[in-house]
């Protein structure tokens, strides 16, 4: 009887640990994707507006080399 309880308890603990790991991986992946975005069709307008600024000469390459 005692062995059985221990076995179930271990199983539950293992499942919880695994669940936490999966949850944590998912949470980190989401956060990473929030910080690092791939630019695609959804960003087309944004990209175009920046590129337009460059093409029109409104934006020039920054050439600063060092901090004071």
């Amino acid at each position: 009887m005692f062995d059985r309880v221990t076995e179930v308890f271990s199983l539950v603990l293992g499942a919880l640990a695994l669940g936490y790991l999966v949850y944590e991986i998912d949470r980190r992946q989401r956060k990473l994707h929030d910080i690092w975005n791939v630019l695609d069709g959804e960003d087309a307008i944004l990209t175009a507006s920046l590129e337009d600024m460059v093409e029109s000469g409104e934006l020039q390459p920054y050439a600063g080399a060092t901090l004071a």
């Binding site: 790991l21 929030d34 690092w36 975005n37 630019l39 960003d43 590129e51 029109s56 934006l59 920054y62």
Partner: protein, 190 residues
């Protein structure tokens, strides 16, 4: 002063303004003495794989401080690619137009010119680092380092999109392994 009220500096070559502006105690980026030789719309001569844009509306954040303190190094590491720094006014205007981005800046957007020339803006054409989401100086620094490392090591990449996705997968897995081994959380996103 905004991260790049410096944009105008690119053309004016004036001495640096005082860094203790009322808007922020973060020092401004230095004005520079010269211009990058440009062709047409301001693209430096030679083939640049990337165009890098920095949008910063001026939040007094740890990420901004780290960016300012390390900008020179980033600049030196990315010599082959032009960096366009939007002025504070332009950045604010940008944020007003794209409200969901507020609080995520400084944002570093990298346009992959190779992908843009091939497929325009409809498909993959670069990536964006929302540095402002990294709350501590350590996180922001690691984010910047990862950014610089990724650009330098993937400059010749034939499939940048796959490389980015691989990086994200790898970071996620590394984090998981660290959790399993009870290490301190590393990082970029943590």
């Amino acid at each position: 002063m905004g991260l790049a009220d410096t944009q105008d500096a690119a053309t004016a070559a004036q001495p640096p303004p005082p860094s203790n502006s009322p808007e922020s105690d973060v020092p401004a980026l230095p004005m520079h003495a010269g211009r990058v030789p440009s062709i047409g719309g301001g693209v430096p001569s030679g083939a640049s794989r990337f165009r890098i844009f920095i949008v910063d509306s001026g939040w007094n954040s740890a990420a901004r401080k780290v960016l300012l303190e390390n900008f020179a190094l980033i600049r030196d590491l990315q010599k082959e690619d032009p960096i366009y720094v939007l002025s504070r006014e332009k950045s604010i205007e940008f944020m007003r137009r794209h409200g969901s981005r507020i609080g995520r800046d400084p944002i570093i957007a990298v346009h992959d010119m190779q992908a843009l020339q091939k497929g325009g803006t409809a498909g993959f054409h670069g990536f964006r680092l929302s540095l402002g989401l990294l709350r501590t100086p350590h996180q922001a620094l690691m984010g910047l380092q990862a950014f610089a490392r990724f650009l330098v090591t993937n400059r010749q990449s034939g499939d940048l999109e796959a490389d980015i996705r691989a990086l994200l997968r790898r970071e996620g897995l590394t984090g998981a392994i660290e959790i399993a081994m009870h290490h301190e959380a590393r990082e970029i996103g943590e």
